[in-house]
């Protein structure tokens, strides 16, 4: 119940900082309450709200044309009528990964672990999808031990192949499509992570859990 206490405190109006992102959205610094708040507001389907976008400890409320902040949004934030149990009812994904990323030897060296133990460690983590961004279907997977948080590469690569599994900062991520990228490449998967013809188009949704399986 300690967690519930923290989150309830987080949801009280006083502890949330609000900032406008252009004139179209309000960024709520919701911290640990970001995902539960996202779910709660999503279910509330407030008029005037076009989209809700969770990110790293903050939630963006995108407004519809001409709308101001709905009074009910303020009301919902100042009370806290959401259920954190909602956060548990999500899908789990096992993703087969070939751990042959070009940065894996360097990552192992920098972390001071033998490569095999590093891979074993990565496969033991139950990652949680915190949010999607950067490119369509790119999920920020939380769960790396703090000691494994490496700064991003100073110069991003111009072309990272689709399916690359990488770590950067506090997160693990899989590039759904080829493109530039500044994270450390540790492996690759053949699992398709984004298809615009699917509904929803992204395989991973906020709150889902993900485990990497070495193959």
């Amino acid at each position: 119940m300690e967690q519930r206490q923290i989150i309830e405190n987080g949801v009280s109006r006083e502890t949330f900082a609000w900032r406008w992102v252009t004139d179209r959205g309000v960024r709520i610094a919701a911290g640990l309450a970001t995902l539960p708040l996202y779910r709660m507001l999503n279910a509330a389907a407030l008029p005037g709200v076009a989209e809700l976008v969770p990110a790293d400890g903050s939630l963006l409320v995108v407004l519809k044309a001409g709308a101001t902040i709905p009074t009910r949004l303020r009301d919902l934030l100042s009370s806290h009528p959401y259920d954190i149990a909602l956060a548990d009812a999500r899908s789990h994904h096992d993703i087969n990964v070939i751990f042959d990323g070009m940065d894996l030897p360097l990552v192992a060296e920098r972390l001071g672990w033998p490569r095999s133990s590093l891979v074993e460690g990565l496969c033991a983590i139950s990652f949680v999808v915190k949010f999607l961004g950067f490119q369509p279907g790119f999920a920020y997977l939380q769960g790396l031990p703090v000691a494994w948080h490496l700064p991003r590469q100073a110069t991003p690569r111009k072309a990272v192949p689709a399916g690359s599994v990488a770590i950067g900062g506090a997160y693990c991520g899989i590039y759904p499509a080829a493109g530039p990228g500044g994270w450390h490449l540790i492996g690759r998967t053949e699992t398709q992570l984004f298809n615009p013809l699917f509904s929803p188009p992204a395989r991973f949704q906020p709150g889902d859990t993900v485990r990497l399986i070495a193959t």
């Binding site: 992102v21 076009a50 950067f134 499509a177 013809l197």
Partner: protein, 299 residues
């Protein structure tokens, strides 16, 4: 049907875009200068959300084997139909087999061509817009090439010879509201941002409009990724600002000093490399009333 005889610099099928998929990592996209696309659509009797062609800097040569009602708006590209100059913001009826030559932008950056019936490409995630960074949407997920044959839908509505467009403003001054990390910039940086001018760089595109000007120093450290919107002015470590565009990522880790107001995004769409731009601070109330006006015209 529209046949591409010769492509322009960057011709892409665009409509209103695909709101509602940011949580999947998918930006809204759509026509950069939306009021111009809507204006052209209304002239040919299309619904506002019909797909047209967004043409950047230099336009294509197109042939219309079946003829068509067309209109164009936005940047002035000196369009000719079978060698005859065609005025912008007017309805033109092309005879079967007519050829349209779209020239180079004399003012502005992006022009929009609407054809009665709309360009009938598949709807993906609620939109016919091209998403070039992902290679999907629009016509085969890419810019037009020689030999492409674009399907056109059935004509539906009443066409008009002329219709009033949105009143245009100078695009060299963009109005901004404070950004979420404005407080982390030094007074010197804020003063430079609002008083100096910036030049649009040639590597700008629909993902981001890169500017060159005084270095804007951010005093605080690394930032957690936050959700961002088109118009957000990000400042990467080098201190040269990038205005996020229509196809820009939905989250970003760079501090956002300010946000171009929604009503000025069409003006941003008309800035081309080499143009100078300044920022003018306005209140949130000012921004929202401007947006309200814009959406009344669009509605």
């Amino acid at each position: 049907m529209i046949v591409v005889i010769k492509p322009g610099f960057l011709d892409m099928v665009m409509d209103w875009g695909r709101p509602g998929f940011r949580v999947q990592g998918v930006p809204e996209g759509g026509a950069a200068d939306l009021p111009s696309l809507v204006h052209a659509n209304r002239l040919v009797g299309n619904p506002d959300h019909a797909a047209g062609l967004e043409m950047t800097l230099r336009g294509p040569v197109l042939r219309f084997p079946d003829g068509a009602k067309v209109a164009f708006a936005g940047a002035d590209m000196g369009v000719q139909g079978d060698g005859v100059p065609l005025a912008p913001a007017c309805l033109h009826v092309l005879a079967p087999g007519a050829t349209l030559h779209v020239g180079v932008a004399r003012s502005g950056m992006r022009a929009y061509l609407a054809v009665a019936g709309g360009i009938d490409v598949p709807v993906i995630l609620g939109s016919r817009s091209t998403f070039l960074p992902g290679g999907w949407g629009g016509w085969q997920g890419r810019a037009l090439k020689t030999g492409d044959q674009l399907p056109v839908g059935a004509e539906a509505g009443q066409a008009w010879d002329r219709l009033p467009g949105r009143s245009s403003r100078s695009s060299s001054v963009l109005r901004v509201v404070a950004g979420p990390q404005m407080g982390g910039f030094s007074d010197v940086a804020l003063t430079s941002f609002l008083q100096k001018s910036f030049v649009v760089q040639s590597d700008s595109n629909r993902v981001g409009i890169r500017l060159f000007g005084p270095v804007l120093e951010y005093a605080k450290g690394e930032l957690a990724s936050q959700a961002v919107l088109p118009g957000a002015v990000q400042v990467p470590p080098g201190g040269q600002p990038i205005i996020l565009g229509w196809d820009g990522p939905v989250t970003g880790g760079y501090p956002v000093i300010a946000g171009v107001i929604t009503a000025d995004l069409p003006n941003l769409a008309q800035l081309k490399p080499g143009d100078a731009v300044r920022f003018q601070a306005v209140s949130l109330e000012h921004a929202q009333s401007a947006w309200q006006q814009e959406s009344t015209w669009l509605a």
